[in-house]
Structure formats: C-alpha cells, structure tokens
C-alpha cells in the first residue's frame, strides 16, 4: 500500500512542475512587454521601466527567474493583482469557497439523481423509463450549459418569478464570512430568511452546473449495473431466493459502484470548466468568473496564479480519488 501511495505521489510531482512551467511561460508568451503586463502601468519613463524590470527580476537569466518563481510559489507568493493590488493567493482563497460550495451542491444533485436513475434504468432495461432516462441523459450530455442557464432564467426567474437571477444572497442581508460557505454562514448569522435566500440563489446554478455530471453519472451507472447484473454471483444470489431489492442493492450495486466512483472523481475538471460558464451567467462571485474577468481586464498575474491554483486543486483531487480507489479496490493497487 505504501508503495502504491508513493508511486502515485511520485507521478504527480512532474505534472506539478509542468504546470508551474506552463504558468511561468504563459506570462512571457503573451505579446507585449512583460513589465507592463505585470505592473499594469503604461507610458513609463526608461528609468522607471528599468527599475521595475530589475525589481521583478526580469533582467536575470530565465533559469534564475524560474527558480525564484518556484521559490515564491512554494512560499505561497503568487504575485499581486494589477487591478486590486492585493496578493493573488488572497483573492483566490476569498472566492474559492463560493466555487467549492456551488460545485459540491452540483455534484450532490448529480449523484442523488443520477445514481438511482441509472440503477432503475438498468434493472428495467428496455422499459419506457430506461429509454426516457437514456434520452434525457444524452440530451443533458449534449447541452450547451450556458444556454441551459439562460433558459432556466427565462422560465423560473422571468415567467414564474420563483428564483433570483444572480448573486449568492439577497442584498438585504449582510454578515461576515466565517467559513466562506454561504449556506453555513447564513445559518450561523441567525438572520431570519438569510438561509432561504441563499438556497433560492443556489438552486438554478446547481442545476445548470450539475446537468452534465448528472448525465455522465446516470449513463455510467446504468452500463456498470447492466454488466454486473449478468454476472454469475448475481444469478446465484437470485437463485438463493434473496429479495430482488437485496440482490440489486447489496450484491450488484457494490461492485457496479467502482467505475461510477472513478467517473464521479473525474467530474472535478468538468465542474471547474462548467463553473467558468455557470458563474458568468449567474454573476456568481467564484473563481471561474474571477478568472474570466481577470483575462478581460488583462490582469495577467491573477490569471497566472489562478491557473496554477486551479490545476493544483484538480491534480490533488484526482490524486485523492486514485488513493481512495486503491483503498477500496485491492486489484488496483496490486496491479500497478
């Protein structure tokens, strides 16, 4: 097991170094003067330019620049935003909980609906329910989610007037962020209606962001269940006279879940991609919207730091999924 963990962690390190290289190179690949890009000043005098250039270390050889960049990264220094002049890591971690909260809700929504739908579709293979679920899943999988979000806004905010259009909570409420998770903070604040307001702001973005994972999970669950239901041990369990629910829930589902768990782990990247679009539509103050705003404001230090942090998060979550997977499935850790 220790060997397995060490190999997996060992594989992550080169990937992480590659990501830092990418982030490091990015700011130098963008057309234009890196000094101007990093400081955000235009029309500098030659002396000021040279001074800033030396201050940023841009006059040193590339390798030295990279080493000092890595040194900074390892100390948590990702540079300062051109626009707000605040450290990039500080901005990132202020906004990160909003994205995590939205992503977790979306994942929960996808799993809670997708798993049962996939299981029932597999058990009733060929039924109307099966065809409906698979049709809906394929549609969901093909859905341009930015358009899906607009449609939901038209229906639920425009026509029915049930949900707000944007933001995380109504402007009527104000309280200090304790955890950064609005659902928890609104409860802690003790203000009447704050939690309900948070919830109503969360519903539409959750559905929009959860749609593609939902489709993927339902499809994967169905095919994994179909495979398992044909196995001999399931037939044995049925022949023993066990109740159908017990056979499906205990014998079949447990084994079918293994590939499903992997797919759920893989959704982290999908969620981040989706968060960029979902947060843009709903003006959700998370890192997806922040990144897009940073790009359009040409705030390159923020983009550079944001990319590094997001990629690191994805790598770490995938590593965690891999390790858990090895833990629950001995075949994996012995095969490697």
């Amino acid at each position: 097991m220790i060997r397995f963990i060490l190999t997996r962690v060992g594989l992550v390190l080169p990937t992480f170094i590659g990501i830092t290289l990418l982030a490091f190179a990015m700011i130098r690949l963008i057309p234009g003067d890196p000094v101007e890009l990093l400081v955000g000043e235009r029309g500098m005098t030659a002396e000021r330019h040279a001074q800033l250039r030396a201050g940023l270390g841009l006059d040193k050889p590339l390798l030295v620049q990279y080493a000092s960049y890595i040194g900074g990264v390892l100390h948590g220094d990702l540079g300062k935003s051109i626009v707000t002049k605040r450290p990039v890591s500080e901005e990132f971690f202020t906004l990160f909980p909003a994205t995590v909260e939205l992503s977790l809700c979306a994942l929960l929504f996808a799993v809670l609906l997708g798993l049962p739908a996939g299981i029932i579709a597999a058990v009733r293979r060929g039924s109307t329910f099966d065809h409906t679920v698979m049709g809906v899943a394929l549609t969901g999988y093909s859905m341009p989610i930015f358009w899906w979000g607009l449609l939901l806004i038209i229906l639920f905010s425009g026509i029915l007037g049930w949900t707000p259009v944007s933001g995380r909570i109504s402007l009527l409420f104000y309280f200090d962020a304790v955890t950064g998770f609005m659902l928890i903070d609104s409860l802690l604040s003790g203000q009447e209606g704050a939690f309900v307001s948070t919830l109503s702001h969360l519903v539409l973005p959750t559905i929009v962001l959860g749609t593609i994972p939902l489709a993927v999970i339902a499809r994967q669950t169905r095919s994994a269940m179909l495979e398992v239901l044909n196995e001999d041990y399931v037939r044995t369990a049925r022949a023993k006279g066990l109740a159908p629910l017990r056979v499906i829930g205990l014998h079949a589902l447990r084994n079918a879940l293994i590939p499903v768990v992997t797919v759920i782990g893989l959704q982290v990247g999908v969620l981040f991609s989706g968060a960029v679009l979902t947060e843009t539509i709903f003006a959700w103050p998370g890192i997806g919207k922040w990144l897009i705003d940073s790009i359009s404001r040409r705030d390159y230090p923020s983009v550079q730091g944001g990319i590094l942090l997001i990629a690191t998060t994805v790598i770490l979550v995938n590593l965690a999924v891999d390790l858990v997977y090895g833990l629950i499935n001995p075949r994996i850790r012995h095969n490697r």
């Binding site: 080169p14 990937t15 590659g18 990501i19 990418l22 990015m26 690949l29 963008i30 057309p31 394929l138 549609t139 999988y141 093909s142 859905m143 341009p144 930015f146 358009w147 899906w148 607009l150 449609l151 806004i153 038209i154 905010s157 425009g158 259009v165 179909l226 495979e227 990247g269 999908v270 981040f272 991609s273 989706g274 960029v276 679009l277 843009t280 990144l291 897009i292 790009i295 359009s296 983009v303 990319i307 997001i310 990629a311 994805v314 790598i315 995938n318």
Partner: protein, 305 residues
C-alpha cells in the same frame, strides 16, 4: 468468383465463405441503431443547410432592418412571415443568421478535428515507436495538459493568442490532442506486438512505414469514434468560447456569439436566446447519437456486452 471454380458445390461453398464487404457489415450494424440513423439524417440536413445557406437564406445574415428591431417569430403576435424566427436587437433576421451559423459550426468542427487528429496521431505514433525518453516526454506533457480543465485551458490559450475565431479553434484543437495521443499510442502498442507487424519488420520495413502503413490503419476504429465525439465537443466548446467573448467576434453569426449578444434580452425577447441554443443542442445531439452508433458498429465487442 474465379473462373476455375465450376462445380456447383464449390460455388456454394465460395458463397458461404465469402465475408461481407466491410462497409456492408458496418452498415448492417450501424443501421440497427435507430438513434444513430436519426443522428446521421439530422446531421446531413444541417450540412445541406450550411452548404446552401447563401442561396436559401431569406435575408443576408448581417443585413439590418431598422423597422424590425426585436420582432417576435411569425406565430406570435407582431411577427411576420418575412422573419420566420423573428429578428434580433439590431433588426437582423434570426433564421438567416442561424443558417449561416451552421456553416461556422461545421467548419469549426472540421478544422479542430483535422488539426487535433494530425497532431494527436503523429505524437501518439512517435510515442509508441520511440519508447524511452521521447515517449516519457510526450506522455508527461499530455498528462499536464489533461490536468487542466478543458475549457480553462482553451480560455488561457485564447488569452495568450488574443480573442478571435481562428485562435479559438487552435486552442480547442490543443485541448483535444492529449486524448487522441493516448488513444493512438495505446492502440499502436497493442498492434505493434502482433505477428503481422513483426513479419513486416522482418521483411525490412522501416519505422515510418511500419507506423503509418502497417499499424495506423488498424488503429483507426477508436480514432474515428473519438473524432466524431470530439467534433460535437468542438462545436460546444467553440460556442462556449464565443459566449465568453473569446471566440468569434460580433457580428459573426456564430451560435455562441449570438447567445452572448442576446444575453441582455433574456427576459424581454425569448426568441433571440432560444433559437441559437436549439441549433447548438440539435447539432451536438445528432453528432453524439452518430458517434454512439459508430462506436457500436466499429467495435462489435462492446455492442455484445
């Protein structure tokens, strides 16, 4: 049938043993899947619309009709048959723009697929045939690209290159390369260890010939499936980039860009928001159905499961 076979029994035997033409076999598998056939038909219609848009469109896509701002579709009050799907905020005909948008989406899909297939197959074959340092470098680089969420990677590349349609296509192509490299390498490695490749090598074939002429044709099935599915993802991603303002720029009648322009009218004029999205959804859905059907037909092992 050759002339030397003359006895009736031999003829019957020859008929029995003659395998069906690969294309015929493929079609018999493919046509069993109704969804796939429907996908193919819809896709064919979209192709026709795209090709003939210049002759069949009611109006030029960028012509503005100043008396008809935000006119609703023809079946709603205030609509007219002149603009069947209504007009947008600057009085352009929605139907014509969507017809021309089909052209953009198909071209985007084709270019992205060609670019990423070329790069992916080349790198995959190189990795499979030059094991060691080159393979490690290629595959690690692909791992790095895969560790970034796809849309994010595309957005960053566009940020570096500058926002326009061609750069968006380049960015999306880069995003799809890692999958194709992995697929090609895996398939090529399996084929490489087979006897016919060894035979070819013994017969004196060089590495290039082995890779391209001997091995590659036998790796095509999964690549074709992946290419079809990437085609649909490319259309989706290009629309998403257009929506974020990082793809095609206005007034290009690209579906994602049209949606971005329509955003502010979301609560006032449902048609400017709805129709471009329907176009994207229908196209992508048709391609995904087609891709599923291709996978089943090209990989009968999966189908029987």
């Amino acid at each position: 049938m050759s002339a030397s076979i003359e006895t009736p029994t031999a003829q019957v035997q020859a008929q029995v043993h003659e395998p069906p033409h690969p294309l015929r076999e493929f079609w018999s598998y493919f046509s069993q899947n109704q969804g796939a056939v429907a996908g193919l038909l819809v896709f064919a219609v979209i192709c026709l619309v795209a090709i003939s848009a210049d002759f069949t469109h009611p109006h030029p896509p960028n012509e503005q009709f100043r008396e008809h701002f935000l006119q609703p579709p023809m079946w709603q009050e205030g609509g007219s048959a002149e603009f069947p799907l209504g007009t947008d905020a600057v009085g352009r005909d929605m139907l014509s723009r969507i017809m021309h948008g089909a052209r953009y989406s198909l071209v985007i899909g084709l270019i992205v697929i060609s670019l990423s297939l070329t790069a992916g197959i080349t790198l995959g074959l190189v990795a499979a045939f030059h094991r060691g340092v080159i393979e490690i470098v290629v595959m690690r680089t692909m791992d790095i690209l895969l560790s970034l969420p796809s849309l994010l990677l595309a957005v960053v590349i566009v940020a570096i290159l500058g926002p326009d349609l061609f750069n968006a296509m380049l960015a999306i192509s880069v995003v799809y390369i890692p999958h194709l490299v992995r697929l090609t390498r895996a398939a090529a490695l399996t084929e490489r260890s087979k006897d016919y490749v060894t035979a070819s090598r013994v017969a004196g074939a060089g590495t290039l010939r082995l890779a391209v002429v001997t091995v590659l044709p036998n790796c095509l099935a999964p690549l074709i499936v992946q290419a079809t599915l990437s085609f649909s993802s490319a259309i989706l991603d290009a629309a998403a980039l257009g929506f974020l303002g990082m793809g095609a720029q206005p007034p290009t009648p690209e579906w994602g860009t049209m949606l971005a322009e329509a955003r502010e009218f979301v609560l006032r004029a449902w048609w400017v928001v709805t129709f471009p999205g329907v176009a994207i959804l229908v196209t992508v859905l048709a391609l995904n159905l087609l891709g599923d059907g291709l996978r089943d037909a090209l990989d009968p092992k999966l189908k029987r499961m």
